[in-house]
Every structure is written in structure tokens, then in C-alpha cells.
Point group: C2
Chain length 586, copies 2
């Protein structure tokens, strides 16, 4: 195996063209074995094998700087920079992250997991080079999907303005995470592909780039020739390279949306091995709700930025017709378009993963909240127990969203509550409402929730007690019940249990009433402690005769952690919470 | 006067072409009188007079929907939609805001004050129209400066994708707030202007727009003809209209950067009437510091997004040469470019106004903080006492920034501290550091600050006392001193006074030590209460034997308020703070 002999790109440069081709084949085989067993970003990496080999063959990393957009397509780059074992030996599969990571290698400049940032990073890296009077290539690789993000355009502008060496590789596999929308940049790229780069009105040329088109983006020889042609250019170059997503694996080539990411799967048939999910989940009831609303009201519209499959599959999107819109990987557009929709009498339901919602602070504040528009936002993966890559953490949403005026952010604790909140959010016309879709097993109360959510910040006391009051926010409501149970069993204390429901405001009447017969108030939230819900409670009760104990996760970019362990490290266990309560009771 | 007879656009439509021209002249005269006495956005409005009259003459607002980007150029629109008095009668100058405002008029769809949002809003408004099977024009007006923002590009893409009626007017006056950079979109626009719209590689056509160019953008007849031509189009149209910033006022035409906004000024000579600011301010010492660093270290670079004049004037920028970069009104690019600069060994100093920093949450989190890069960020206008338009509030920066891991956010209280923090921030290599430039009169201690800021979260106790500890953060440190003085004078209490210096973390040792001989801890911060600094203190001390009283402004979009009144409404007066302290003391 040639791949095993490559411990750095220097080794690659010594190989014959034939051996390089063997590296391509071996790398693709390693990808198939690892991703079929381990899961990961499939299609993007299979399409990039030849290009990555050619990049390392022609350029000189780490002197030349490679920046991969999102960096989910960097697996072969990792194989060629001393980390092949993590793809060849299943015992070492977890040695590397799924993204570039400077802690792993000097060939990885940045930790990256979000879209459309590579060109801005490259503009800075190149400018620093120029300030220091150094000479080398800065090479950024960005997919056609990522080009829909506004930051990519800002980066293109800045690179063109600097006017010095930066080589932008547009890896155009004709597909974002989902199928590309038609129009705008996608149509511009299609016109360029169909004309082999000769179309009138080339927007990259308009912005000032030296533009090159390569149709055979999985042809090693042509890639090498192109890179050699532009290496060491003294001006901004844009290489528009047409690749095939999932190249070399028939079921990936055919079903590109399903094989963007996922696994494990059967490497022969492409059948995903995950258990079929027949039972109801919070996600599935949300999807049913949304489809039902769409069917019954032509002004309801589901809005999403580039990850539609997490709510609606391809059939369901077809069913929704013009009442569904995917704006591309352009979260800001999704948020502000939703504001425009709401203003003009439509009922937008925008769904977004917590780690990517954080791309839209100003759109939340200035467009949705300042204008106080009834946009319904469904926030998924907002939990310590959701994605656990340091670039994909979903538990900063409360400090992010809860302190923006006018926003109503809700934390359901059961199926019934979730459905009632959803319905209220979509049908009311007074507030921007976000709902933190619960993460965890579906909890059913069996009782239809008839709460009037227009009475803001009204908490639900689910058990009346004394001495101790426990506020279990959203996902942690069940934990509050467990703590109360333990207090009763071990210490004979009947605690008050509160389901706050509202993240964005306090039930001041309830909090005031606790002072008379409670000694300690405990808040539990499935998120970061700092700037969270509990700290608002602590502040409000700051000069009351009550102790307040807030639980949440310490702010840090925790990486590939075990959720239970992380919670335990932060004291979030029934035993520890009970112990701390008992400590402060008279 | 014809203008006085126009109470709605319907009145305008009845006028002869000659009378329309009189309206143009009268509107321009009213602008001159009001802005010279009252200040405001000058250049953008003077350049838009003819276009605004033509828009209201041809289109049918409010059935047709007008959306003005930033909306700082909407003064004439206001004059023509029932609000002329606010421009003709000085007693009524304050009746209207400087931006569109739905509370003022049905002709104003949105409250807007930030850049590049208009096209996304338009895409939503148009889509809602289509969902409801309604028919009318959606018209968005965006300047060439605003086109540099990534959201504008996302909006263009979505409008093109929808493929129905939206008319985008690019008001190209060849200038952003400052002089435009060269390159990218600015060069693309220049090529189109110079070729009268005929340039090869038209990026608007590439994105799918029906493109029209008008060179004579201050010619009423040509504007009317163009609008009549495209009105009721069934597809996306882009009108590239070349106007003159400050048109009709010679000193504005000549000095476009100075006359973007400001005032009052002498309407004959264009001389600004503000007192010359010879004495030192926090801004002036910051500028001197930055220029000095640039002079002595070729890797230092000042980075800014579209508002360079708030730190460096035109001469100073020239002096900085390639060690200054204005990326256009593209805050995300500025932040992430700074990350790239820092990664590659440069020392970026990014300066940004608090209300616009909020356009960069994900760039802060994912690009700067996750990668833990030594970017120095100087945050100005972060105070209740800074800009007071609801779209320009600068006091949400603490909940925004303080809960992102790895960030060190500093709050200086004096000239000496500010300079010491600046120097440490730029020269260290361990942390992303932001400094909240003080707002208010320069305070000098006369003692050089030799603090080692690499010892994070170490607070300074400036007076040792007992019973009461007062934490005066940044701008409110002086208030803490006043409260302490009053406590001493009226109640014989010597309070502990703390200058926290660090916003992003607590001095736990100090806080722990207070429990033995203090009864109440008071926090004072010049910002929003919710999610702020004080709430972290309250949480930390939640189960200590101490009361905590947090002061800050209640979260809301306060609009055109008087700062002293707003603070008083939020209990932030010496008397009230002292009263509440005494109340909880034994």
C-alpha cells in the first residue's frame, strides 16, 4: 500500500504518476471502509480525492497555506499529512476529528465547522503574508453550496481588493447539502459549467478574478496541470472545478443528498444501517405539525437555510411546494426573509440548528425583534446532548437569544406542550417566538395542553412544596422531578417543582411568593451557565432571603465529549444537586 | 410652496412635470435647512431627491412596497408621505426619526438602521405576496456601499431564485460612508458605470436579473421613464442608477465623506459648527496609540468595516498605508479576516461600534474564539450614553460577547488603564481580547498602570471597606465612587469599591472573601441588565450569605431616549442605589 508510506506531503511529491493514482484508489477505498463503519461526511470527501492529492502534489503545505471551507471535505488531506492511520486502522478511527484541527497538524490552519468562512480567513492569512513581505500560496477550497453564504462574497471582494496571491478553488459538485435551489449563484454556476467556463457574464471575472474552468475535476492529471499553471500567481485566481459528489461509489453518485453525511452503511449496497425510526420523536411530531399547517393554510411557509432534511424529506418538500423555501446555506437570508414574510402577512416557520442559529444575531435583533414580527423559529439540537464537535455545539443558544428584547423563547417539556406552543406561535401575531425543540426521548403527559401562552412568562408549578423550589427548564424538567423524588425519599422534603416554559422572562409573582416558605431555589438548564436562564433568577432573587443554586455547563468549547460525563463534571447529577441543597438548608 | 400641499403620494401623482420639479427643489431646500440646523444623514438624502420623487410618482405606495436599505436616505420619502412638517417647521424637526419607522407611517414597512438587509426583507415581502396570490411591486433601494455586505448578496440570490416581481434599485453614488475600496464589487460597479452598463461580465445579469443602467440618476424625467418601463414586471429587475452624493450642494458634492452624516453646519459654506475638539478624549488617545503601533511594527494593522473615520481620518489612513484596511460595510469579513491575520502572525486591531459588532456573533465564536486567536477588538459606543436610536443601541454588547468562551473583554476606567490594556492586548499572543472603549469624559489617575493583564479576571480593590461592596464596571466605576462617598457621608459606611476590569470572568477569590465581613454586593454596569456582568456575580454568590443587587438597563429597544432619564427609570441614581443598600443592611 502506497498510502501507508506517506507521512507528509513531501513523500507524495516523490511518487510517479502511476503511484499517485494508486494513492487515489487507496484513499478512496479507505474512505469507503471508514465511513461505512464509522459514519461521516461521505459525498464531499469522495468527490475531493483526486483534487486533494493534486493539491498536495503541486503545492507545498504547510508553507503554502490550505484552508478548507467547513473542512468536512478534508479527510484525504488528513491522510496525506501524517494521519493516514486514522483512516486505515479502525482502532484509530477516533484519533482525528471530522474537521481540520490545528491541534492535530501544522497542515491544519484553523478549526472550522461552519460554512462560507474560508475566503475571509484566506484574505487575512494572505494579508499577513504581505505585511511580513513573505512569499507563498494561500489556497482556499470552497464548495458551490458554501458559495451561497454572504461571507463567501465578502471574502471574494476582499481577496480581489488585496490583489495579491490567493487561489480560490470552487469545488462545484452541483449540490449543496441538499439539492441546490435554482437561481442566483446556482444558475450562474450552472451556466458556467454548461459553457465550460465560457458563459457571458462571469461573476468571478466581474469581481476581478483570474478565472479558470476545469470540467474534469476528478481527473488527476488535469488537476495537476491546472495547479501547476496557477501556482505562485501574483494576483487573485479562481479555479472553478467541476467534481462529482460521491465520485467512485455508485450509490453516492446517485443519491447525493442522502450521502452528504451519515453512516454507518453497507459499503456494497449503500443501505444505511441505522435502526428505522418508526416511533414518534419530537422531530417527527414537529414535521407532522408543519406539514399539517401548510396543508390547511396557504400563508404558512417553512423556511430553511441549507439543511432542509432535518425537518422535511425530499417528498415532504415536494408536497409543501411553494410553501417551502431553502435559501441555500445563508442563515441570515433565512432569518430576515422570515421577517419580511411575517410583515407581509405570511406565517413563516423557520427551522434552524442551534449551532447555526448563531450566525444570525443581528438578523434576530435588528430585523425580527426590533420590528417585533411574528416569526416562528424552531431551534433544534439545542442541548448538551446534541452535536458534540467543538465547532457544532448547540448549548449557547440561551445567552445568544434570551437577552434580545421582544423575543419569546419557549422550552417545552412534553409532546402536548410542544404542540400547544407550536400552534400558539404560528397563529399569534404579537411576538417573535422561538421554540427550543426538546432533545431526548418523547415525554407524554396524556393531557392536552390548554395553556394560554399569550400570558407571557407564566410558569407552571407542577408540585407544590416548601423549603426547596426546583426550576427544571425544558430538557431538564425530568431532572427536576428526579431531584425532587430523591429529596422526598432520602430527606422527607416535598420540593416545589416548576416548569418555567418561558426562557426569556421570569414569573416574578411566583418568585416573590417563594420567599415566605422556601429557603433555596435551584435552576437546571441544558446549556451554558453563563448568561443563561438561571443567572436571571439569581439576579432577581439577589436580595431576597433565599439561596439560589444555578446549574448549567461552564462556558468552554468542549470537544467530542461524552454528554453524561460533561454534565457530571459540571455537578449536574441528582446526587450532587441534592447534596448541595441539603448543605444550605437550616 | 407645492411640497406643503402634498399629504400623500396620491397628491404627487396629480402634479404637472413642472410642479414635480418644484417639489424636487423645495425638498432639497428643506433638507438643507433642516440638516444644517439639526444634523442628520446629508449626502445620501441630497442624492436621492429626484429618485424619491420619481418613485412616488410612478409607483403606488403603500400598495407597492418600498424598502430602503439602512433607511438613512428616506427623508424625502417622509416628506412625500404626510410628514413634510417635520422637515419644514423647526419646531417639528424631532417628530420623525432618521430612519423608516412603521409607527410613523404605513409607507414605512420596517424599522431599519443597519446595512444590507433590504434585499432579504424584500425577498420575504415578495414571497408573502406570491403566497397570497396578490399583485403589486416590491421595490428595494440599496446603495453601492451597502452592496458590499454579504446579506445583500444572499438577498440578490433569493430574489433571483423566486423569479417574480422585485425591483432592486442600486443607488450608486460611487461612495460608501467613506471612500470606497478598490476591487471586487466596487470595481465591478465602476466598470458598469464607465461602460454605461455595457461592460462584459455583468454580475447582476450573471445572478439572473433583468439589468438596466441609468447614468443620469438625478434627472427626474429619465428616472420616471425608467420606473414606468419596469413597473409591474413579472420578474426580478435590477436598476443600476448612478446618482451624485450630496447632489445640488457644492460642498457636499466635493467632500462626500465629511457630508455623509453630521451637523449642524453653515448652510452657505458647509463649515461644521461643532466645537473643535482640541482636548484629549478616549477616542483620541486610542487613535494615537494605534498610529504609534503601526509606525513601530509592520505587522500591526487596523481593520475596519466601512466606518474608518471613527478611528482614523483620511490623512491618518494614508499614513497607515497598507497597515490599514477597510473591507467595506462587511463586518463579518472584518472579524474573520482579523482571525486570519492573527493566525498568520500579524497583529490586527479591529475597531467596531457596539451596535454593529452584533453582526458578527458567529465570527466571534467560530472564527476568533474557537481558534483562540489574538485579535484585538476595540468596541466603541458601548454605553447607554452613546447612540440612542432604537436601531443603533450600543448596550447589548455584554450579553453578546461575554458568554463566548476564550474571549477576554476588558472595561477600562481611566486613560492609564485603557493604554495599558491596549498595549497588553496587541502584544500578547494567548487570547482574543476586546476592549470596551470608555464613553464619557477622560478620567486620569496620574499613575501609570503596571497591571499584568495576563493574570485573567483579577479585580482591583480601590477602597477596602466592609458591609457593602460596590463593583463599578468600566463607565460606571465613577458612579461606584459616588455611591461610596454618599454611603460614607450619610451613613458612616466605608464601602469596598471594586474596579472589576474584566467583564468575561469573575474574581472568585475576591468574591469569596467578601462573605466574611460584607452584607451586600452591588454591581453597576452601563448596559443591559439581562445576561450582563452583574448576573454572573449574583449567580456565583447565589448561596453565599450575602445580598446581591444588580443594576443595569432593562432589556428593550429604547428609542431616542434621554440617557439620564433612562438610567433614573432603571433605578440607576446615587440616591436610589444608596437607599436600596441601606434597606438590606442589618
Amino acid at each position: 500500500m502506497v498510502l501507508e508510506t506517506i507521512s507528509s506531503p513531501q513523500d507524495l511529491k516523490q511518487l510517479s504518476r502511476e503511484d499517485l493514482r494508486r494513492v487515489v484508489d487507496e484513499a478512496r477505498q479507505a474512505l469507503l471502509e471508514k465511513t461505512s463503519q464509522h459514519g461521516g461526511h461521505n459525498g464531499p470527501n469522495f468527490g475531493m480525492v483526486e483534487m486533494t492529492v493534486a493539491m498536495h502534489y503541486v503545492f507545498n503545505s504547510p508553507v503554502d497555506k490550505f484552508i478548507f471551507d467547513v473542512s468536512h471535505q478534508s479527510y484525504v488531506h488528513k491522510m496525506l499529512t501524517g494521519r493516514a492511520q486514522a483512516f486505515l486502522d479502525s482502532a484509530h478511527y477516533d484519533d482525528v476529528s471530522g474537521y481540520t484541527n490545528p491541534k492535530e497538524s501544522e497542515h491544519d490552519l484553523f478549526t472550522i465547522g461552519h460554512t462560507s468562512t474560508s475566503l475571509s480567513l484566506a484574505s487575512g492569512v494572505a494579508k499577513a503574508r504581505d505585511l511580513k513581505d513573505e512569499v507563498y500560496n494561500v489556497v482556499a477550497v470552497i464548495g458551490d453550496g458554501s458559495l451561497s453564504g454572504g461571507m463567501a462574497y465578502e471574502g471574494l471582494n476582499q481577496i480581489a481588493t488585496e490583489g495579491t496571491n490567493t487561489i480560490v478553488i470552487v469545488n462545484d459538485n452541483e449540490q449543496s447539502i441538499a439539492i441546490n435551489p435554482t437561481g442566483g449563484i446556482y444558475t450562474a454556476l450552472r451556466d458556467l459549467r454548461e459553457s465550460k467556463g465560457q458563459a457571458d457574464n462571469n461573476l468571478f471575472k466581474a469581481l476581478g478574478f483570474d478565472y479558470h474552468y476545469l470540467d474534469a475535476g476528478n481527473d488527476l492529471d488535469q488537476l495537476i496541470a491546472l495547479f501547476e499553471e496557477v501556482k505562485d500567481a501574483n494576483h487573485p485566481v479562481l479555479l472553478h472545478i467541476h467534481t462529482q459528489k460521491g465520485h467512485g461509489v455508485s450509490f453516492m453518485e446517485e443519491n447525493r443528498e442522502a450521502f452528504h453525511a451519515g453512516g454507518p452503511y453497507n459499503p456494497e449496497t449503500g443501505e444505511y444501517l441505522r435502526a428505522s425510526n418508526a416511533s414518534e420523536t419530537y422531530n417527527s411530531i414537529t414535521t407532522s405539525f408543519v406539514l399539517d399547517k401548510i396543508k390547511n393554510d396557504q400563508t404558512v411557509i417553512a423556511v430553511n437555510a441549507g439543511t432542509p432534511m432535518f425537518m422535511l424529506n425530499q417528498d415532504q418538500r415536494k408536497q409543501a411546494g411553494k410553501q417551502f423555501v431553502d435559501v441555500g446555506i445563508a442563515e441570515e437570508e433565512a432569518a430576515t426573509m422570515a421577517a419580511g414574510l411575517a410583515k407581509n402577512g405570511a406565517k413563516p416557520i423557520w427551522y434552524v440548528a442551534a449551532p447555526f442559529m448563531q450566525r444570525t444575531y443581528d438578523q434576530w435583533s435588528h430585523d425580527i425583534a426590533l420590528n417585533n414580527l411574528p416569526v416562528t423559529t424552531l431551534v433544534y439540537s439545542a442541548s448538551v446532548s446534541a452535536m458534540n464537535d467543538e465547532s457544532h455545539l448547540g448549548f449557547f443558544d440561551i445567552p445568544f437569544l434570551a437577552h434580545i428584547p421582544n423575543v419569546v423563547y419557549l422550552a417545552p417539556t412534553s409532546k402536548e406542550e410542544h404542540l400547544a406552543m407550536l400552534d400558539w406561535a404560528v397563529e399569534q401575531n404579537e411576538h417573535p417566538v422561538a421554540i427550543r425543540i426538546p432533545v431526548g426521548p418523547l415525554r407524554e403527559t396524556g393531557i392536552v395542553d390548554t395553556t394560554d401562552y399569550s400570558i407571557l412568562n407564566k410558569n407552571q408549578v407542577t408540585q407544590n412544596g416548601n423549603k426547596v423550589a426546583i426550576f427544571g427548564l425544558g430538557n431538564f424538567y425530568a431532572l427536576a422531578e428526579e431531584v425532587a423524588k430523591e429529596l422526598a425519599a432520602k430527606h422527607g422534603i416535598t420540593a416545589t417543582i416548576v416548569n418555567p416554559k418561558f426562557i426569556t422572562g421570569l414569573d416574578e409573582e411566583l418568585l416573590d411568593s417563594l420567599e415566605s416558605d422556601h429557603q433555596v431555589v435551584v435552576t437546571l438548564e441544558d446549556g451554558v451557565l453563563e448568561g443563561g436562564y438561571g443567572q436571571m433568577v439569581a439576579s432577581y432573587l439577589g436580595d431576597a432571603d433565599l439561596k439560589v443554586q444555578n446549574y448549567g455547563v461552564e462556558k468552554a468549547f468542549h470537544d467530542r465529549y461524552n454528554a453524561q460525563e460533561l454534565l457530571a463534571e459540571n455537578g449536574i447529577t441528582v446526587d450532587n444537586i441534592v447534596k448541595n441543597i441539603i448543605k444550605v438548608l437550616d
